[in-house]
Each structure stands twice: as C-alpha cells, then as structure tokens.
C-alpha cells in the first residue's frame, strides 16, 4: 500500500493529507500564519508524526493553494481547482458542480465523471465574497466561528447590509449590536450576502446536479442552508470540507507518481 501526500497552503490555513492509496488516512491543519514555507514544513512534520512515517515513506507529494509557490521544496505543484475537483469526486462521485468557499476567494467548478474540472469561475479577491467576511463578523460579535452557523439558523429576519465592503460591514455590525439587533440576524445577513455572490458565480458556470459545497466556508451550516435556499437544491458537504484540495493534491500525486 503506497502513501501519498497532498498539501494545500491556503491564505488562512495550511492543510496536509496523507492517503493510503486513495483513502484519506491522516491529516493535519494549522494556521498558515505569515510564512507559508515554515507553515507547510511544520504541517508536514506534524502529519508525518501522526502517521508514524518518515518523508521517505511517501511515494509522491503535490502542493497546491495560493502559498504553493512558497513551498517549492515539495517539487510538484498544481492548480487548487484541479485538486478540489479530484478530492470532491473521490468523496462524492455523483457531484458535477462544486462550490468552494475559501479564505480569499470563492470558486465554482464543474466536474466530469473522472473528477476533472471542465469549467470554472473564481470570484474577485474581495473579503465580502469570501469566508473571511463571516470570520470578521463572528469576531465582532464575540462568537466562536464554530458556533456562528448554528446560532445564525435561529434568525427570523436577517439584516440587509447597506454596504458591500466587509470592513464597513464590520462597523455596521458593531453599531447594529449597539442598537440591539439580535446577533443571529447579523450573522444571517452575512450568509445571505455571500450566498448571492455564490449564485452569481454559479449562474455564469451553469449548475449541474449533484452540487457540493467545500472549503472552510462549508463548515458554516448557516451558509450551507442559505445557499441551498437560494439555489433551491440540496448541497452535499463532505465530513472535512476544508481538506478537499489537500486530499485532491494527494490523489494527483498518486496519478503523477514520484517526480
């Protein structure tokens, strides 16, 4: 049984996965922090420790994500779009459209029956359209991002932000709190804002069911629900949505073999 390593060096977190052939066997996740190189090295050391393996036991590795260039020691690199497609396909072979809510941008991609990306669209780099918006507002409301989704589901009437900028959105949230707006409504407002941006991307790529949501944003049950409501279709979410690109990278490593 061969071992493959995939690492996704994202703007917020660095995720690394070791597979036993195609099976996701071990993973580790740490904040990318300021230096992608140190982060990726640390993440790899950690996951190897977990797996009780040495770097030599790994047949092939692939790096992806916006920090991949900073981890040239890994050798092979490829687009996080391909990796995401691969990872999702292995988890849900029936999925044809993938929504990836990342820390810096959101992506929508179409996937074929072999896990290849056939069409894709990436959002502009504006925090208001990415997972970051939710983190910012959660921090303002002094809510752990993990609980934000659940709380938001309580919302009866989500607010409509008067601005399309995450920074102004932050101040707006603060003064709404001061005016007594319930936190859940403020959170739900963010999710709606992001859901609109997602469906615009989907409109351009074209929606084909089944549809999955991955990336850190998919951990937010509220965002998943409101996106489903907007699209009017169910969304599949893998157990570890934030690992999909790293997992896919390992699968690509398996295809490519040692460099």
């Amino acid at each position: 049984m061969a071992r493959f390593l995939g690492i996704d060096i994202g703007s917020v977190n660095t995720k690394v996965v070791i597979t036993a052939d195609e099976e996701l066997a071990f993973f580790h996740l740490i904040p990318s922090g300021a230096n992608y190189r140190t982060a990726s090295q640390k993440a790899i050391d950690e996951v190897l420790k977990k797996a009780g393996l040495a770097l030599g036991d790994i047949t092939a590795m692939v790096a992806t994500g916006c920090g991949a260039a900073g981890a040239e020691f890994i050798g092979q690199q490829t687009s996080d779009i391909s990796c995401c497609a691969r990872g999702v396909h292995r988890s849900f072979p029936g999925v044809r459209t993938v929504i990836d809510i990342g820390g810096q941008a959101s992506k929508v991609l179409r996937v074929n029956n072999e896990g290849r990306a056939t069409n894709f669209m990436v959002s502009e780099r504006c925090a208001a359209g990415s997972g970051r918006f939710m983190q910012i507002i959660a921090r303002v409301l002094q809510i752990d991002i993990k609980d934000a989704g659940a709380l938001s589901l309580k919302s009866e009437n989500p607010i409509i932000y008067t601005t399309s900028c995450a920074v102004f959105g932050e101040s707006e949230a603060i003064s709404r709190v001061a005016e007594g707006t319930p936190k859940e409504d403020i959170l739900a407002g963010v999710q709606n804002a992001i859901a609109v941006k997602i469906s615009n991307l989907i409109d351009r790529v074209g929606l084909e069911e089944e549809c999955a949501m991955v990336g850190g944003g998919a951990l937010d049950v509220g965002l998943v629900k409101r996106t489903m409501d907007r699209l009017g279709i169910p969304l599949r979410v893998p157990e570890q949505p934030q690992l999909m690109a790293a997992y896919g990278a390992a699968l690509v490593a398996r295809e490519n073999g040692p460099s």
Partner: protein
C-alpha cells in the same frame, strides 16, 4: 537565465522583424507631416475605406486607437486616463478614447506635442475621420474630441445589416451604394478642405495593391491551419498593424509576401511555433501588450495559439457581386469585411450569431482544443460576444473556454499569475472535451 529560456519558448518568424520598420515609418511620417504643416488626419481604424482615399490625397492619417496601445506599453496611458477623468469623462469609456482625450487635453494645454508623449506624439489634426464600423461608440468619441480640436469631423457610415438580411444580395447592393455615395461626399469634403483634386489613377493603383495585400494576408492565415501550427498569434499581433493602416503601400505587400514564404517553408518542413504542440488554441481579443512573455510560459506547457480574433484579420476573398466603379470597390471590401461572417452564417443556417460565428468556423477549420478569452473591461464591443462564443464552442463543438480579464490600456487589470495557476485545470478541461469529441466521432 530562466528569462532567456522563456523568451525562446515561441519560435518567432524571422520575417516578422521586417514589420517593425513599417510601423515606425508610419509614426515618423505622422510626426514629420505635423512639423512641416502638411495635412494630418486623426483617423479611426476605418477598415480600408477612408485611409486609401486620404493617402491618395496626400493626407497623413494618424491613428489614436493604435496610439493607445503605444501609450499603454509606454505606461503614460495611466496619466492620460486620469486627465480624461478630470475632464469629466466617465471611466468606463473605451480605454483608447480616454487615452486620446487625456492626450488631447495635455497637448492643448502645452500648445504642442506634450512632454513625454511616446513615438513623437500625434500631430495636431487638420480634420478627424470617424467610422461607424464594428464599434459605433467610436463616433461619439471623435465628436467629443471637438472640444479640444476645433476642426471638422467626418463620419463614414457603415451599415450593420440584420442577420436575416445577410443572404439578400439586394440588401448588400443598397448598403454598398449608400457607402459609395458617402465616399463621394467624403471626397468632395476633402477636395474643398484641401483645395485640390483627387488623383483617381493614384487611388486605383493603391486599391490594386490593397486587394493584393488582403489576398496574401489571407493566404498566410490559411497556411496557419497546418498541424503543428507554424505561426503563433504573437507573430500575428506584431504584423497586423501594416495590414490595417498601410495596405495601400507596396512595401507592405513585399513584406507580407516574405512572411508568406517563411510560413510556407515551415509548413512544408513541419516546423511548429512552440516546442511541443499539445494544445491548439484561439486567443480571443487583443492581447495583454505589456506582458506578452505570458505566452512563452504557456508555450512551455505546449499551448500553441494557432489563431486569434477574426475581427483583426483581413476580409476573405470577395463573394459579393457589384460594379467595378472605384468607390464601389472600396466600399464593398469594407462592407464585406464586416458582413462576411454573417453571410457565411446565413449559408450555414445560423449555428450561431454575431461575433461568435467566425470562432465557430475557425474552431472547426483550425481544429481547436480550447479558446482563451481576454475580456477587455473598457471595450464593450470586443467583449460583448466572448461569453456567447465560449458557450457556442462548448455546447456545439465541445471545445472548452477559459477567461482572463484584462484591458486595452489599464495594464493593472491583467493578472498573469492567476491565469498560469489555472492553466493545469484548463488543460484537464481540454483533455476532457477531447475525449467527448472523440466519443462523438469528431476527428480532433
């Protein structure tokens, strides 16, 4: 060192080097005419209609659109765009227009060619010539230039018949006649303005040359259908200017004939423009002039851009009938350069419409694996059909498309890094659709 290697990824045509002098000559003529007080016209790309007549009357045209690309690669365009905005022009207007409006403001202020204007600047116009062709927002642009240059503006009409009409020869007759009558008006306007008569023999000589240039330029593009692709889009972009502006000029013909010979030799020897042709692509719309090295990086991955936006190509061999009167001949070519694709679409039963039709045809003829579109944020005309074109290629021919945003003048829009990051994913799409085409019995 790495830079060096990248530079070599695309094998450029040796003969394309012969083109640069022609372009320089064009700019030097313009500057000289200005200094010697000879008549200078600010002219739009007018699709071989007005230029040849101006040339026959010894007017030296200068081309604000082309000057926009010059200012863009020089970097000074950013400044002119700011000045244009300061004059109150919306920033969503055509980048070339904003550049010219800014340039004109500066030139008017300075009373001469403004400090730092590249290629000797554009001399003050004696008059300005608009064309409605292809992008009819352009005549609004020259109209607004009048607040800087109190000189006459002449607009050449350019019929844009409906798709449904395109099979009707009598519609074409009406349209060409209208254009010819207006050309007559243009000549009268010039003769009055310049106080001299048009030399028709000279005009005829130039027109004959122009038609020969169309032919050889067209033949070059036919050769490019060979596998592997012998000539990369980069060579086309280097060489397209003379065909636009100097088709009347025997030198242009001579140079293009050399290009033809070189491409032909390559085809016969099976020489490819890129190291290893893995993917044949169309590049759609004007390239990011400032970072053409981008194409070498893609060439290293085996991407060969075997052709590019048909809109910048010469008209195909004439299929419209009509009289041999000089003005009608001129008008017919200009008109044909616009309607030929729709004319062909009509014959094919409209597989698509508008700007998408030529892509459809060429995708088949060049056996294209993918289309890379470059939407230009301030050029609606160029951008309008790109989405539709990508849809049609994907839905009707199973050819995928990828899109990178850019602009004709604002160099900051184009993000090569992101595009290169997405390249592997797009290669997957191209591979995927290759399988689909095979399964449908298509031969590439």
């Amino acid at each position: 060192m790495a830079e060096e290697k990248k530079k070599r990824a695309i094998t450029r045509l040796e003969s394309s080097a012969l083109v640069r002098p022609l372009v320089n000559k064009m700019y030097m003529e313009g500057a000289a005419a200005g200094m010697e007080g000879r008549p200078v016209a600010w002219s739009m790309v007018n699709w071989w209609e007005g230029d040849i007549i101006m040339r026959a009357m010894d007017v030296t045209p200068v081309y604000p659109e082309n000057y926009g690309t010059v200012c863009a690669s020089d970097g000074i365009a950013q400044k002119y765009l700011g000045v244009s905005a300061a004059e109150g022009f919306p920033t969503h207007l055509c980048g070339y227009a904003q550049n010219t409006l800014g340039y004109s403001t500066e030139m008017k202020k300075a009373g001469q060619v403004p400090e730092g204007a590249p290629m000797g600047g554009m001399a003050k116009p004696t008059f300005m010539l608009c064309s409605e062709g292809f992008c009819d927002a352009r005549y609004k642009w020259f109209q607004s230039l009048r607040q800087f240059w109190n000189v006459p503006v002449w607009t050449l009409p350019f019929p844009h018949p409906a798709y449904a009409d395109l099979s009707l020869q009598d519609v074409h007759k009406v349209n060409v006649e209208y254009m010819a009558v207006e050309l007559k008006g243009f000549i009268e306007f010039l003769e009055k303005l310049l106080g001299k008569k048009l030399d028709r023999d000279k005009l005829k000589m130039m027109l004959d040359n122009q038609e020969k240039v169309f032919k050889v330029w067209w033949d070059i593009n036919e050769l490019r259908k060979a596998r592997p692709g012998p000539m990369h889009a980069r060579d086309f972009w280097t060489m397209m200017v003379p065909c636009y502006y100097l088709a009347y000029d025997p030198e242009t013909l001579a140079v293009y004939q050399q290009v033809y010979n070189e491409v032909k030799t390559r085809v016969e020897a099976g020489i490819s423009a890129v190291p290893e042709e893995k993917y044949r692509l169309i590049f759609s719309e004007l390239p990011p002039w400032h970072s053409l090295g981008f194409f070498d990086k893609l060439a290293e991955r085996g991407w060969n851009f075997v052709t590019e936006s048909p809109g910048y190509h010469p008209p195909p061999p004439m299929e419209l009938n009509g009289g041999g009167d000089l003005l009608q001949r001129i008008a017919r070519w200009t008109y044909w350069s616009y309607v030929n694709t729709g004319y062909r679409a009509a014959k094919m039963g409209y597989p698509t419409v508008g700007g998408a039709q030529p892509y459809y045809n060429w995708a088949l003829e060049y056996k294209i694996d993918g289309i890379l579109t470059h939407p230009l944020v301030t050029c609606r005309t160029a951008t309008f059909w790109l989405t539709h074109s990508m849809n049609v290629l994907r839905d009707k021919l199973d050819i995928p498309g990828m899109s990178i945003q850019g602009d004709i003048v604002d160099l900051t829009v184009f993000d090569a890094a992101t595009a290169l990051n997405q390249a592997p994913a797009f290669e997957e799409s191209m591979e995927h659709f290759r399988q689909v085409r095979k399964s449908k019995g298509l031969d590439w």
